[in-house]
Subunit: 325 residues, 2 copies
DNA sequence: TTGTAGGCGTTATCAC
DNA sequence: GTGATAACGCCTACAA
């Protein structure tokens, strides 16, 4: 490995001078500057960022913990997060927790040991203390962990309301809601709350099911949905808490020879790529994924710079009506 | 930040002793060991991995450069890569190049400056020199950069052949192939070659189109496919080089009132999640994504350990026949 | 069994 | 303008 020493030696100066040139500090004669630059070029010198990080006590690393990047929502979100991080001079350490408490804690510790400058949590099953001890810039998605930790979320209640009332307006008489795990105290649960509120308010028959996020087990989902339709053959509207799940609903309806949207109307959530890839194209609630990613980086960086940040960041959602309603 | 010094001081020993305990080296009396452990616990001490990396000249970091993690194939691949990396004690630095030459070079340099122990390239538009200088463990996907750099690929020729001959056997008389950018000299181009070979061999009429990978521009794809069917209304078979693209073909067929598989048969490539999420479920060529991810990590680690590795790693593909053929 | 000291590659504070 | 030197936090010969 070629270091600053090698450059200094070959250029006939000391490391101080090379370092100065590297960082554009202090006065340097044009002659030496040229020479040193030439040598750096020749030796193909690249400053060691690890040494820099150690000295500066700043790694320019941001840890990203999500359930799994294989899920379309998180994969799109990650792509934006990485994009904006890179623009701001930060790098992303990717961690897939699979919503496993143990793994999540391990990742959290690992990130701390690696002195990341901040952590973005898209997955959280742990207790508050694990996050804030010691104080480290954090932003979470979809969960209010404590009053100190800023969180980003889209307007889940509004989303749930929009979805439910659309189905009702389209004439659905018995609506099913398929939610994620409601015990995780995620803000996403507000979709459920909104559903219940709306359906009760308008006096519409309804039924709900919970599932775990497990991208890879599509078969499992199908079974669940199949059973749902068996037990309630008169369901004519489904509000699914993710586009992927909604895709499974479409599949099952197709098998059951239920026409969409004539017999059953379906609405998803997220507006990931799959939504517009499906046939029929999925009506869904769009979360502003890019904006969420951008904001996550902004909030982390502001915290790094000791600036005050808004704790509660609720972004607007939007109903995207396509062909399933 | 609490360092090894703080621990040493509070425990009434020197840093050496603490370091020894941390690394399980040399003889330590039970008394001091207990005491030091207690103090570490109390101070919530975590060794600084940056300092360790500097000393050991090993970061346990692996750089992952891909076009974009928002693409289902790379998102699934990344998820496996991260999984196996973590198992082996490595961390993943995520880089989305968007197939931009400049960005790719910047990422490459960034990774070198950050002293990653290896690089996994799922995106490569650069010249050989940029990669091998200096010598750093690398593995690439789907591209043979030089004889020194190991690469992983699935059996693209076989995949192309399987796909094409299936369509022919199912009675297609005029087959379209939608490929990626053939100028990138990716091994994926062998799918194209196999297609041409097979179709010529069996004397079947055919037509081909190239596209850029751009996940987000589904509309663009639709237009392209639409035009294809306009110019060649008699196409009755489509071999698409990705599942996503195939999904767009399904969509367009649906619009054009072409029945699948009666009027048009479609086969995709990759077997990403979307393939089984679609209606009708997509017939496709499965790449062993998990195995590719696992192997990438294995090859990197072997190189890190100075072991010899196989340069050419071609994994088998498998025809997954579903409902579109 | 434990301590001292030097070094990993870089930057900043003083001198000259 | 440029050069010693100490420090960032950790690890390991070599001593004791």
């Amino acid at each position: 490995m070629t270091t600053i020493k090698d450059v200094a030696q070959k250029a006939g100066v000391t490391v101080t001078t090379v370092s100065r040139i590297l960082n554009n500090r202090g006065y340097i004669s044009d002659a030496t500057r040229q020479k040193v630059h030439a040598v750096m070029e020749e030796l193909n010198y690249q400053p060691n960022e690890i040494a820099r990080s150690l000295y500066r006590r700043k790694s320019n690393l941001i840890g990203l913990i999500i359930p799994t990047v294989a899920h379309p929502f998180f994969s799109e979100l990650s792509s934006y997060i990485e994009y904006y991080a890179y623009e701001a001079g930060y790098k992303i350490l990717l961690c897939n927790s699979h919503l496993d408490k143990v793994k999540e804690k391990e990742y959290l510790d690992m990130l701390k040991r690696n002195k990341v400058d901040g952590i973005i949590m898209g997955s959280h099953t742990l207790e508050v203390d694990d996050y804030i001890n010691p104080k480290l810039p954090i932003v979470t998605f979809d969960r209010c962990i404590s009053n100190d930790i800023p969180y980003i979320s889209s307007d889940n209640f509004q989303g749930g309301k929009l979805a439910t009332s659309l189905l009702i307006e389209r004439g659905c008489k018995k609506i099913a809601h398929i939610s994620g795990n409601l015990n995780l105290s995620l803000l996403a649960n507000k979709r459920y709350e909104a559903f219940i509120a709306e359906v009760n308010n308008r006096n519409v028959e309804h039924v709900t099911v919970q599932t775990e996020i497990n991208v890879f087990d599509s078969k499992q989902y199908e079974k669940l949905i199949h059973r749902l339709f068996e037990e309630h053959p008169d369901i004519d509207g489904v509000f699914s808490s993710s586009d992927n799940m909604a895709a499974n609903v479409i599949k099952v309806c197709y098998r059951l020879n239920k026409n969409i949207p004539a017999d059953v109307k379906i609405i998803g959530y997220d507006d990931t790529m799959v939504a517009s890839l499906l046939v029929p194209q999925l009506t869904t609630i769009r979360q502003p994924i890019e904006e969420m990613g951008r904001l996550a980086i902004e909030l982390i960086i502001k915290q790094i710079n000791q600036e005050e940040v808004e704790k509660k960041n609720i972004l607007p959602v939007k109903l995207i009506e396509r062909e399933t309603t």
